[in-house]
Symmetry: C2
Subunit: 286 residues, 2 copies
């Protein structure tokens, strides 16, 4: 099953990601509606032409009309929303999400969801250091990865639909991971990096550092501008994995510290050569 | 004293930075010559029109003709070069450099240099994750900082000339720091960040990570493609400062680890809010 133009797509949560999904889908000619918290987000999205219709109320008909609903909410709000409003879905509806951690959400949603509605989880690996629909743009999907996270409860049809959504949104690469592998991957690639950036930004209070900085520090701390409400939730939702990844990083960092401390130049160079060869694989293709 | 078009500028070392200096200066209409190691670098630079003359030999007349000489060499080679060739400078010549660490070089050069030649140290806070004159471009100076590092041996004239060089090359901001402050600043802003990037890239050997990554990991590891010969030298040249900065970062990282471990959500959010407010000052103005 692929996305088709006669499908009704509903976005729940018009933030940075929800808005970027809306924009990308509208640009491709899809019908997009939205339910969100703030009236101002609806106004902005309507004015910018990235949704056809928007509301801040739970409108049963709107929900019942949706063939595909995308949830772009904080994990705990997503669960609450499903509990309270799932009776309005039409039979056969598919729902997906953008949540950054899967272990805490996928099993839970799938276990409470009606039998005739299917939840297929996905994680768009794209974002910005600013939030809100005002900053949304589907440009962030260019060159980016999109991960579909199926379980044994998912049908091939819904998986295909979800993959197709990633492709239509313009992601560079669509991949599939299990819930467990997803959370391990994200604990390392995304959460650990945010921990490092925040720690780096917090550890030095010298004034005027920005006058002397180069791009290295800028790059390492771009994500230190962080939505503290969302990320603290995501960290705790993936706590055990994240702590293990932090330990892993720390022992590599300590190893380098020891090599510098003992003047082991060849050992340092060996680590640098390994990092150089590994990093080559990560260049973004735009 | 400012740079003037009738001055002869000599670049020693046509790598990424030497080449970018040459390009920026030629574009502004200055006369630029170069001495470098490889014939192919000279050929490339001549063909690209970023130098007027280049050689791989020590040509006494060329050195004697230079009003300003820029050294873009590894620290230990810079010192050797001065020992062997300083007799060729003309009286009143000014020399400067691009070296990333100052404590190990500035005092040494100033103490061995002839009395009638002045060395004023500078550090352009710009670079790329690739090296060589083939990758040089003065575009890297846009929005970047340039630090002049004077000592009590320097004259106002030479300091002004060195600042003017940074301005003419198109740096966004020209600042001044003492040798000690420079090395502390660089230990934190530049060397520590490279240590983090290398450690992060080394700590996980899971295959296919690039298929699942987002920009956070890409940004934190851009500089993990690193010139191991140069950086191992720079790290050891600033060893004590760097180790102290690594310890500082580690305690901040450990603090965050503890907050996650104990589920101290408010403590995590506090660190995130601090990092967010601090990071805002670092946006690059292009």
């Amino acid at each position: 099953m692929k996305l088709s133009k006669d499908m009704n797509i509903l976005i729940v949560g018009l933030g940075l990601l929800g808005g970027s999904y809306a924009e990308g889908l509208k640009k491709q000619g899809f019908k997009v509606s939205a339910i969100t918290k703030e009236e101002s987000s609806v106004d902005f999205a309507l004015e910018k032409g990235i949704i056809d219709y928007g509301t801040v109320k739970i409108e049963p008909e709107l929900i019942a009309n949706a063939d595909l609903t995308v949830f772009a909410l904080y994990p705990h709000i997503f669960i609450e929303w499903i509990k309270e409003n799932q009776q309005y879905f039409k039979s056969g509806a598919v729902i997906t999400d953008v949540t950054g951690v899967k272990g805490c959400i996928v099993g839970k949603i799938q276990s409470i969801l009606r039998e005739d509605v299917e939840f297929i989880a996905a994680h768009p690996m794209a974002g910005r250091e600013v939030c809100g629909v005002e900053n949304s743009t589907s440009e962030i999907f260019k060159g980016a990865n999109y991960i579909v996270v199926p379980t044994e409860k998912n049908t091939p049809d819904a998986i295909e639909l979800c993959r197709d959504l990633g492709e239509k949104l313009g992601f560079y690469q669509v991949a599939e991971l299990s819930v467990e592998m997803h959370d391990r991957m994200i604990g390392f690639l995304s959460q650990l990096t945010h921990c490092i950036a925040v720690s780096l930004m917090c550890c030095n209070s010298t004034p005027d550092l920005e006058k002397y900085t180069g791009d290295s520090f800028r790059d390492l701390t771009r994500i230190a501008r962080i939505n503290d409400e969302m990320w603290s939730e995501l960290f705790l939702d993936n706590k055990n994995v994240l702590l293990a990844e932090m330990e892993r990083f720390r022992s590599s960092f300590d190893e380098l510290y020891e090599k510098i401390n003992t003047g082991d130049r060849e050992g340092m160079r060996e680590m640098m050569r390994l990092s150089t060869s590994r990093r080559k694989l990560f260049d973004k293709i735009l």
